[in-house]
Symmetry: C2
Subunit: 175 residues, 2 copies
């Protein structure tokens, strides 16, 4: 499938409500569980998504539009949420994410992106030259990647509880 | 985490609304895409979940309660949905799944499962002896497994669109 702005926005629009449905009524055992030392819980993932809304996707789109490949993106702090989310409740984080995402999608609309602008180059500090279209595609797949992570982390809490069925459940056999 | 009935029901309860949020507003390109020959689209997965509600989880729980390990479960047809879903719309399937799941969770409540009943043995046609608690744990993890599958299938449609970022997106590098 080639990148298309409308299709990409469909993915970006569903994530807040999907996370609300998935996590909003779970007991804390599910929400705070992780995969062991230095791994993330569903709570941590939502904090990471919030930090992305604040410092990654739209700020990088702005840099591409304003500076092209002449100014590299600021590096993204993948673990900033461990500090930022401290003491917060998941319900607060879910609302925070929902508001930020809606605001960012409004800004995306205001950018009035044409095929020419979507092909514009930017400079990633590690990956080198990328396009605005690739950035927006990555924003969407990054959401899906973290939904997959959340359900994997939750599943693994029941690795033993499923007994012999573990052999049939591929999600229990991936990292 | 040990199996607990209430926690397991929390997972089972969220799946219909999560699938509605995730898929309900997507264009058909996302919903009908798969990973190549003999793989499933998000549409196929929802049909598979419906067939599980009809023939797998609660019917097997009934068999355990009534017959214990003396009567093996009927084998589950993993691909029945290719025939059954034909000609239907995703929106119909999502409603169908929601109704079936709600009905099945009501029946689960009416079973008044005690720790003794949850430890009761059943006989899986391939896996051998399993417990009712393991069956219910598997029901929940099976939901999560298929949510992971749906977001993986969708992600892969953008494997090329993300450009160099593919290296950072683990979901694009698993089968």
């Amino acid at each position: 499938m080639n990148f298309r702005l409308e299709q990409t926005k469909q993915i970006l629009q569903q994530t807040p409500s999907t996370l609300n449905s998935l996590l909003g009524n779970l007991s804390n055992e599910w929400v705070s569980a992780n995969e062991g030392p230095n791994t993330w819980s569903p709570f941590d993932v939502v904090g990471h998504l919030i930090h992305g809304e604040e410092t990654d996707w739209i700020p990088r789109a702005r840099i591409i539009l304003q500076h092209g490949e002449e100014r590299a993106f600021d590096p993204f702090d993948r673990v900033a949420m461990f500090e930022k989310s401290r003491g917060k409740k998941l319900s607060d984080l879910l609302v925070e994410f929902e508001v930020l995402r809606a605001t960012n999608l409004e800004e995306l609309d205001r950018m009035n992106l044409t095929p020419e602008l979507l092909a514009k180059h930017g400079k990633h500090p590690e990956l080198g030259i990328v396009t605005l279209g690739q950035l927006l595609s990555t924003w969407a797949v990054h959401d899906l990647n973290h939904i997959a992570q959340i359900v994997r982390v939750m599943s693994k809490q029941y690795s033993d509880a499923v007994g012999p069925w573990k052999a049939y459940l591929s999600i229990l056999n991936v990292r």
